[in-house]
Structure formats: structure tokens, C-alpha cells
């Protein structure tokens, strides 16, 4: 029987209404169920590092070995106001996240991320 993999493409509009922890929890819950998650606008660098930290706490030896995450380098939008306030002005970009044992990055550069998804047994 052919196995299916669910892909969840989450819009920028939805992400903008969520807190950092809500985003991270949503991602981990979906990925631990075996889903592939694509974020229209990705996570900030701080959120990415928090996601990695949370992932490490949830790794279980025979159940969940972590995530594969691929995003593009962030773009900085340097404005006068941002400089005065010391804000980073970081613009996040499309990101794909999946279970480490199912999602594999084939190639990645500044403009394209190519991945393969295995459906397992």
C-alpha cells in the first residue's frame, strides 16, 4: 500500500498572528507526526535557534531523532529608524522543516532548496 506524506504550507498571515513559542510548538507537533512543514515566511534567527533547542529536548532514541530544517540566509533591511533603535530589521524567508529521518536536503544555494522526502516502510 502506498504511504502518503502530509505537507502543511503555512501562510505568512497565519504566522504573523502567532507568538514565537506558538510557532515552534506548531512546527514540532506537526513534524513529530511525520508531516512536512513549509513556512511562507520563515522564522527569525532567534526563533530558529529556539526551535533547535526545543528539538534537542524532545529527541527520543527510537522515536524522534530531530528535524531537518532548511531556510535561506536572512535579509537585513537597514533603515534609519532601525539603526537608532538598534533593531535588526531582519526579513525572514521561506523555510521547510520535516522529520530528520524522512526529509533530506539534496541541494541548496542562495535561490533554491531541493529536498527529497522518503515515505519509509
Amino acid at each position: 500500500m502506498m504511504r502518503e506524506v502530509q505537507m502543511d504550507l503555512i501562510s505568512a498571515e497565519r504566522l504573523e498572528t502567532m507568538s514565537s513559542m506558538e510557532k515552534i510548538r506548531l512546527i514540532l507537533n506537526k513534524v513529530k507526526r511525520g508531516n512536512i512543514v513549509v513556512l511562507e515566511l520563515g522564522l527569525t534567527p532567534e526563533e530558529e535557534v529556539k526551535l533547535i533547542e526545543m528539538t534537542m529536548t524532545e529527541i527520543r532514541l527510537d522515536e524522534f531523532s530531530g528535524i531537518e530544517i532548511e531556510s535561506y540566509p536572512v535579509k537585513s533591511e537597514s533603515t534609519f529608524l532601525n539603526k537608532i533603535l538598534g533593531k535588526s530589521g531582519v526579513k525572514t524567508r521561506m523555510t521547510v522543516i520535516g522529520p530528520a529521518n524522512q526529509l533530506r536536503t539534496v541541494e541548496k544555494d542562495k535561490y533554491q532548496i531541493s529536498t527529497k522526502v522518503s515515505v519509509g516502510d
Binding site: T44, P45, E46, E48, V49, I52, E53, T55, M56, T57, I59, L61, S65, G66, I67, E68, I69, E70, S71, Y72, P73, V74, S76, L85, G86, K87, S88, V90, A100, N101, K108, D109, K110
Partner: protein, 211 residues
């Protein structure tokens, strides 16, 4: 990041600029097996005569951050005193079966995997307490790994200095130009931490960027 935290960080940068602070706490970051501990050992040995950590070809050999304080680097008339933190390899996945491929028994592989997850968390926590980073990349590998992208993004967001070390230049497949093309906005020094080639150029760059 909160506005208050951001203002506090900017204030620290200004104080450093005004008073010419010459001591910095530097983290050595990168993916597993990039040569972080080999580099840390070389820097500390060259300037203080000590070793700080063991190395091997098994990933996640360093699973606890190791700190060496008061390493003074002099180069081209500049001097900087560094507290060096050699951090465990950053990763988004850790599977004990990968360690078994290096010949470890299952129990040992599981123990190493658990310690490695704790090591990644420790490396992340250290990001909050650093003045700058040496990001070590394996010049023979694709530089667009998520660890590299995430660490570079975090340093840019925190407005902290970052120096990219293109390591393993002694290997035939080394290509520092690929790293430069991926992260053109940051200074890069190609070296072989194992053989010590171009290491003086790295010390000069460290004194310039973190002094």
C-alpha cells in the same frame, strides 16, 4: 528580541567603543567535525602552552563547552585578551545509529547521543554570553548548512562580530571561495587548524576584529 534587551546590547557596544575594551569572550561554533576543538587547541597552545580538549573523527566528540580564560593574542602591534569557549557541535538532529557506524556499541552510542543533545543546548545557551564568534566551517563541505545559516543569522541579529574560519585547507577538495560566495558580508580566513597553515593570518584577523 525585546527593545530593552536590544538597547542594553547597544549600550554595551558603545561602552566598549568609548573605553576601548580589549578583552572579549569568544565562542568557537560550527557543525560537528568542522575542526572546532582542533582550532581551540591550536590557539590556546600557541598562546598559553596548554591543550583544552580531545579530538576524534567521531561526531560530537566535544559534548560540553570548554572555556579557557585570559589567552592573550599579539599580532601586528595589536593585542587582545580572549576568554575562549569551545562549544559542542551544533546540529538539528542526533541519531544514535550514526555513532554505531563509527564502531561504537549500542549503549555507548545511545549515551553519546543523549550527551550530544545536551551539548547542543549548552552551545545555544552560550550565544547569550559572548562578545563574538569564530564560526568554523569545513572547506570541503557545502557551506549552506542550516547550522551555518542559523549561527550567522543570530550574530547579525545580535550585531556581534563574526569571523568565518574556512578550515581543512590541507584537504584537496577545500574550496573557501564557496564559503565566501555564501556569506560575502563577513570576513573569512582560510586555514588548516591541523597543520597550522595561515594561522598567523587568523591571529591577525582575531586581533583586528575582537580587539
Amino acid at each position: 528580541m525585546s527593545v530593552i534587551k536590544s538597547l542594553r546590547m547597544n549600550f554595551a557596544v558603545w561602552i566598549k567603543w568609548i573605553f576601548g575594551k580589549k578583552r572579549a569572550r569568544i565562542g568557537i561554533y560550527g557543525p560537528p567535525n568542522a575542526g572546532k576543538t582542533t582550532l581551540a587547541n591550536r590557539i590556546v597552545k600557541d598562546w598559553s602552552g596548554m591543550d583544552i580538549g580531545g579530538i576524534s573523527n567521531v561526531p560530537h566528540e566535544t559534548r560540553r563547552a570548554m572555556r579557557t580564560d585570559g589567552v592573550v593574542i599579539n599580532s601586528n602591534g595589536s593585542s587582545v585578551e580572549l576568554d575562549i569557549v569551545d562549544t559542542p557541535g551544533m546540529a538539528t538532529k542526533i541519531d544514535f545509529r550514526e555513532f554505531m557506524a563509527y564502531g561504537l556499541e549500542e549503549e555507548e552510542a545511545k549515551r553519546r547521543a543523549k550527551e550530544a543533545t545536551e551539548g547542543v543546548i549548552e552551545a545555544i545557551k552560550w550565544l547569550e554570553d559572548l562578545d563574538g564568534i569564530l564560526l568554523v566551517m569545513d572547506s570541503t563541505e557545502d557551506p549552506y548548512t542550516q547550522v551555518n545559516v542559523t549561527v550567522v543569522g543570530n550574530m547579525e541579529a545580535r550585531k556581534l562580530p563574526l569571523l568565518i574560519v574556512a578550515n581543512k585547507m590541507d584537504l584537496p577538495k577545500a574550496s573557501p571561495s564557496r564559503i565566501k560566495a555564501a556569506f560575502p558580508q563577513h570576513p573569512l580566513v582560510p586555514i588548516s587548524a591541523l597543520e597550522g597553515s595561515n594561522i598567523d593570518e587568523l591571529y591577525s584577523a582575531i586581533a583586528r576584529h575582537f580587539g
